[in-house]
């Protein structure tokens, strides 16, 4: 176990360092960041001054180590526009994004797991086809279009829910539903195929032959085994949703990290953009590391194999 843990940790650190370099270089690929920050009709002098002001006149590797060194001590620099510390800006908003991502996963799981189970119990029937149909729909509809439809229906026509804002739980219902629908098909398919495999195995046949209550066999014996891969998928989807909320946050004017990233990209606020990309990557690395460890704990074949 210790060897497995060390190896995983080593790879995770290596990936984290690479990701920090990529995050750092993203907006710098434009070549001359100082010229862009100084504005279109800035003179050479002004550009040079801007470069000096933000430390952009130093060699790139010096800038990187400077930033990375500060980042290790929890200092991610200041926004070029609001002059706020980036760490504070992100922590003010990450709560909204995490809440949104968790609600979305919740929505997709309460739809996907029952549907997947039903579909697996009666494969190739009407129920199975309907479940598949819903999954296909969820996969094909662009979430920004679906979000607009929900706004038209629930906020404008029925007036049940607010259009935008992030003050109350009601503000999260439409965005969580939109994102949840997008994540649902993967969970549904995984539940269905996992359940089909498990239901076919010997211990289920034994349990049924013993005359156990069929519902008990289904939920206690079968679903418990089929749920394992769903746990690892959850970590991946959570990591993905944290970075994938940009569009939905901007449509519903939810003041989360995605929206902050989008605004910062639009105004070339590179300290904010590089920090958000880095933090989201880091959270993905940590989440997958955790899910690997949980799986290794649950399944000895992984850690010994």
């Amino acid at each position: 176990m210790a060897k497995f843990l060390l190896h995983r940790l080593y790879i995770a650190i290596l990936v984290a360092i690479t990701v920090s370099v990529i995050a750092f270089s993203l907006l710098r690929l434009s070549g001359d960041l100082a010229a862009e920050l100084a504005g279109e009709d800035a003179s050479e002098e002004e550009i040079a001054q801007t470069a000096k002001q933000y430390g952009l006149d130093r060699p790139l590797y010096v800038q990187y180590f400077d930033w990375a060194g500060d980042a290790l001590t929890g200092d991610l620099g200041r926004s070029l526009f609001t002059n706020e510390p980036v760490v504070e800006m992100i922590f003010e908003r990450i709560g909204v994004t995490i809440k949104l991502a968790l609600y979305a996963i919740f929505v997709s799981l309460i739809v996907a797991i029952p549907l997947g189970v039903l579909a697996s119990v009666r494969p190739n029937t009407l129920i199975d086809r309907m479940a598949l149909g819903i999954a296909v729909f969820g996969q094909a509809i662009p979430n920004f279009y679906f979000a607009l439809l929900l706004i038209l229906l629930f906020a404008v026509n029925l007036r049940w829910l607010p259009i935008s804002g992030n003050d109350s739980f009601a503000n999260f219902i439409l965005p969580a539903f939109t994102l949840g629908l997008g994540a649902m098909p993967q969970f549904m398919r995984l539940t269905r195929s996992g359940m089909l495999d498990v239901l076919d195995s010997d211990f289920i046949r034994t349990a049924r032959a013993k005359g156990l209550n069929p519902r008990r066999v289904l939920f206690k014996h079968a679903l418990r085994n089929a749920i394992l891969p769903i746990v690892s998928l959850m970590a991946v989807v959570l990591g993905f949703l944290l970075g994938g909320t940009v569009i939905i946050e901007s449509i519903f004017a939810l003041n989360g990290v995605g929206f902050l990233a989008f605004e910062s990209i639009m105004r070339q606020d590179f300290p904010v953009v590089q920090s958000i990309v880095f933090i989201l990557s880091l959270s993905y690395i940590v989440l997958t590391l955790l899910s690997d460890l949980i799986n290794a704990q649950l399944d000895p074949r992984i850690r010994l194999g």
Binding site: V15, I22, L27, L29, Y145, G244, I265
Partner: protein, 307 residues
Amino acid sequence: MPDTIHPNGLEDQVDEFEIAVPSPPELMRRRAKSHRGFIIGGSVVLFFLAVAVFAPVLAPYGPYDQELTKRLIPPVWDAAKGTWDHPFGTDALGRDYLTRLMYGAQISLMIGFFAAAVSAIVGSTIGMIGGYFGGRVDNFIMYLINVKLALPGLLVALSLVSVFGGSILALILILSFLFWDRYAVVTRSVTQQIRVNDYITAAQALGTSRTRIIIGEVLPNVMNQIIVIASLEMAVAIIVEAALSFLGLGVQPPTPSWGLLLSEGRSYMFFMPYLINFPGLAIFFLVISINMMGDGIRDITAPEGRN
């Protein structure tokens, strides 16, 4: 009277007992003909393709023709104001909406197809190299894949578009960067499985170069999977292009990308919902039919891989 007479005269009996075994391509053709999803999906994709290719001929107007006196005319089924001059109505600048939608199919299909193709080439090359060579090479490739997976793709794409601009070529390359990893993961594991086969060992024994083994022996065996992934990734690429354009960081106006039409129509959607419904449904139907076609290709080429 038989055409040829065999010396033993048994020809007729032999024919009678011979069982016709259909060749694999013939089997696939048969499966394709009876696969409803593949036929429906494929037909709709062909329809969109035809619209895209023949847009200059079919479209009643030019995609950039404005008539400011004819702004926001509703579609023809609106009894009061609809007119056959503009069957799908006009947008806020008086441009014919049907025309813009037809030209939008060009953008979506072009970006979707080339993004899927470029990422297929890059991803499968990386995957086959890792799977074939194993060891350190493979470790390095796994590391590349892990880095890619850790990065928040949409944010990286948005940043890159903000730096390199929203030209169609830039979008194709940026989207390819988003999608290469799945090809790499799948081709890598399939290559690992076939690397140990006798025909690979035979090729190695004959002194065939590694490049030739990968192209001549490995590639044909992973081609089916690559095509299946490509069709599914093409659908995702179309959605992501529309999303980037919707956010204003993709195809730039006045080019008629469906995502851009949606974002332009958004300000009017409360009174003129058709402005978001036409492009939204166009994306939806194109994506769903590509997915149906992709699932169909999977069932047809590898029917045992269902569920």
